[in-house]
């Protein structure tokens, strides 16, 4: 009986000890390139050849900023992601037309994948 009660209480105890967990991310200071771009935390669309800077902040469910945020590309031949000049700055680039994802990694864990499309430029071809 005691063993059964302990088993039932264990998950609750573990949850109470694990602390706050990831809640969401924000993008700020998003630069505006000369051709099309629509960059937010739910989807990214960028014209090929464009570079956009974003500043990324991750928040936990206690509404506190989380440390160690990274953006990574799952296909560098379509979308490039590089660390920017300042902390939490990243530069997202449209390398070639196609679809890929930008992975959001917070404190070593992948917490989100942002679907990303790289499209042709709207400018005339000539």
């Amino acid at each position: 009986m005691k063993l059964r009660a302990l088993c039932l209480a264990l998950p609750l105890l573990l949850a109470a000890c694990s602390g706050p967990s990831f809640d969401h991310i924000d993008f700020s200071d998003v630069s505006i390139p000369p051709d099309f771009s629509a960059v937010d935390t739910s989807a990214i669309t960028l014209a090929m050849g464009m570079a956009v800077r974003v500043n990324v902040t991750a928040w936990n469910d206690d509404d506190e900023e989380m440390e160690d945020v990274s953006l990574l590309s799952d296909d560098e031949s379509v979308v490039g992601v590089s660390k920017g000049p300042s902390e939490r700055d990243f530069v997202i680039t449209g390398v070639s037309v196609g679809a890929a994802s930008v992975r959001v990694v917070v404190e070593g864990h992948e917490v989100k994948r942002i679907p990303t499309r790289i499209i042709e430029q709207k400018e005339p071809k000539l």
């Binding site: 090929m48 050849g49 570079a51 800077r53 490039g80 000049p85 390398v95 070639s96």
Partner: protein, 229 residues
């Protein structure tokens, strides 16, 4: 009172120039989008329209010709910022060469300045490329090329690539030149530069033609020259 009104703005201007070190006036540069430095245009050789006559470019070209070569350097504002290695965003528009970059197709491409220390992007800018629709002949001072020469006259002409919208395009292009009658107008320079020296040899008419590989139209641009005795 009048003297004070004159000197205060002058002192403010001097302080501003001192603070910027006059870098803001440096020719052929444009500020990076992230504000950490400026990108400087570099002619890869004397065939760049931006550097004709051996002069450095006065401003960063607004549009560069498809098929042309060009160079870019990154100059950080702060000495503590590492130097940047330039890398194009999309190889569809620009590829790297031993001297700089070659334009592959029309459009706009980002140029990233990456830190030589850790590879992080320090800054970036975007550069626009257009296919040359035709070549425009001009003299050294950009006036239209002369169509009448006397025997013994010499003239230097330039073939400048022009877009569909009539905009002059920069970048180092290679040009193939031909004279329909070398006995009337002789070509004086070897090589495939956009600059050509002409010499009027004898009375008559000759057609000078020039073409470059990136042209939208395959027809060469021509100039008919009449040589008078």
């Amino acid at each position: 009172m009048g003297t004070t009104n004159f000197f205060l703005p002058a002192l403010a201007l001097m302080a501003l120039l001192g603070a910027t070190g006059c870098d803001a006036m440096e020719p052929a540069t444009k500020s990076g989008d992230l504000g950490n430095g400026r990108f400087r245009y570099v002619c890869v050789n004397g065939s760049d329209i931006a550097c004709l006559g051996g002069e450095p470019p006065v401003s960063f070209p607004s549009v560069i010709a498809v098929g042309a070569e060009f160079g870019v350097e990154y100059l950080p504002w702060s000495k503590s910022t590492p130097t940047g290695r330039i890398e194009p965003v999309s190889p569809a528009f620009v590829t790297e060469t031993s001297r700089g970059f070659r334009v592959m197709r029309a459009g706009t491409d980002g140029l990233l300045a990456r830190s030589t220390e850790d590879g992080h992007v320090i800054d970036f800018t975007h550069v626009t490329f257009r296919a040359p629709a035709k070549l425009r002949f001009s003299s050294e001072d950009d006036a239209p090329a002369r169509k009448f020469l006397k025997v013994g006259d010499e003239m230097t002409i330039y073939a400048r690539p022009v877009s569909h919208d009539g905009e002059d395009l920069d970048g180092a292009i290679s040009c193939a030149w031909m004279s329909s009658d070398e006995g009337v107008v002789a070509l004086m320079l070897d090589g495939e530069t956009p600059t050509m020296g002409l010499r009027a040899m004898a009375a008559g008419k000759a057609t000078i033609s020039a073409s470059t590989s990136g042209l939208v139209s395959t027809a060469p641009t021509t100039l008919e020259i009449t040589v008078e005795p």
